[in-house]
């Protein structure tokens, strides 16, 4: 929406980029990764519409900085970090969770009958309820395939802090899965 001529469609970054197209393969690459980015942004923001805005803005930022992407095979991880930072910017600006938990609960409850698998529903619900400091590294690891070291660099945390957050995130989810929570194995003061 921003920086676009009025007549320019906004549904796709490819439609919005000017000129004959030396960057066409890159645009195609970005577009092919959009579903992954949207899924990742959705778990961070807990709201589909906000996630779409975040991804749109992230793709524009990525396009403006495309010179920084030396290796197209690294595009997915690069874009995911841009999405994460864009979400963090929005989160900082609003200084609160982007979608209130009560709103999530209500929306989820309305959808419950459509869910065939109760266990997965409960798990999704529980992941959505995780605080952002646990949900974010979990999404980076599970959806982004980031290693602990990569997450610690991205989040500017120590490796121990990242391990602790990931441990605690999964430990909370153990309960939903019918397992007893493990004693907190995190070192004193971590995370």
């Amino acid at each position: 929406m921003r920086n676009s001529p009025p007549e320019t469609p906004v549904s796709s970054i490819g439609d919005r980029l000017p000129g004959p197209d030396p960057g066409a393969p890159l645009v195609q690459l970005f577009e092919s990764l959009r579903p992954d980015l949207l899924r990742f942004a959705h778990w961070l923001a807990r709201d589909r519409a906000t996630a779409e805005d975040i991804v749109q803005e992230s793709l524009l930022r990525a396009w403006r900085s495309r010179e920084a992407l030396k290796d197209p095979s690294a595009a997915r991880a690069w874009l995911l970090t841009i999405v994460r930072r864009e979400h963090a910017r929005l989160y900082e600006r609003k200084r609160l969770e982007l979608v209130p938990l009560d709103e999530i609960t209500e929306m989820q409850a309305a959808l419950r009958p459509a869910e065939a698998d109760g266990e997965l529903f409960a798990l999704r619900h529980a992941i959505m309820r995780l605080p952002i400091e646990y949900r974010e590294p979990l999404a980076l690891q599970v959806l982004g395939g980031f290693s602990t070291e990569e997450i610690s660099r991205e989040l500017a945390l120590s490796s121990t802090a990242v391990l602790t957050r990931l441990f605690r995130a999964r430990n909370k989810l153990r309960v939903i899965y019918g397992l007893s929570p493990a004693p907190d194995a995190a070192p004193e003061g971590a995370a």
Binding site: Q108, L111, A122, R124, M128, L166, R174, I176, P183, A185
Partner: protein, 220 residues
């Protein structure tokens, strides 16, 4: 490597491996079992996260005339709803309580006692306080129910977990028990509104309700 270190690594990434971790798991049946469980759980987490819930889209701001028309229709709808609300049978309250509890399946599984601060937070919206002398509260949320925030608690009893909802704004004429969707329940009148108690099996529902009523202080 000790068990704490092994479990931290396994919990953080159930598929991670290192010579030290492998050596520990080889000699520690408990950590080996923990890793099996976490790998199994992790497969479900991966599956769950592939499909985020479809949440509602934000609404765009409507033109002013539409807002007035919307406001008028909301007033009419509210009047109609209030009429229906006043006339509806009591058993719909029990049904809605059951539906709400079913919507939070994880509440039954909570295994750790929640802090006093979390309990206070859950109670604050309903204007009640609880003397926590004898109860073990494992889950405490403030839930939106019938237009109000109500405390939704799960208390551990000798017969298993029991859900308690403090329904300050729901007046009932008298005690009503119900059995729905595998849940046993009772709604009893309280000095302000009512208290609902639900369990997944036989339990002294009235005793739990009485204990809560005794320990509860209602603010005006």
């Amino acid at each position: 490597m000790n068990c704490d270190a092994a479990r931290l690594l396994i919990g953080a990434d159930p598929h991670a491996t290192s010579p030290e971790l492998e050596a520990h798991v080889q000699g520690c049946a408990a950590c080996a079992r923990f890793r099996e469980e976490m790998r199994d759980l992790d497969a479900h987490i991966h599956r769950a996260m592939q499909d985020p819930p479809q949440l509602a889209r934000k609404r765009r701001a409507a033109p002013q005339w539409r807002q007035w028309a919307l406001a008028a229709s909301v007033v009419l709808a509210t009047l109609a709803a209030v009429g229906v609300w006043l006339l509806r049978p009591n058993d719909s309250l029990a049904h809605e309580v059951v539906q709400h509890v079913q919507g939070e399946p994880e509440s039954w599984l909570a295994a750790q006692q929640v802090s006093t601060a979390e309990i206070d937070k859950a109670l604050r919206g309903a204007g009640v306080q609880l003397d926590l002398t004898s109860t073990h509260i494992m889950y405490a949320q403030s839930c939106f129910f019938r237009g109000h925030y109500v405390p939704h608690l799960v208390v551990q009893t000798a017969q298993g977990p029991a859900t308690v909802m403090i329904l300050r704004h729901q007046q009932v004429a008298g005690r009503a028990s119900f059995h729905e969707a595998g849940l046993e329940g009772v709604i009893v009148p309280a000095p302000h509104g009512s208290i609902a108690v639900l369990t997944r099996g036989p339990a002294n529902l009235d005793g739990i309700a009485a204990e809560f009523e005794h320990d509860m202080r209602w603010q005006q």
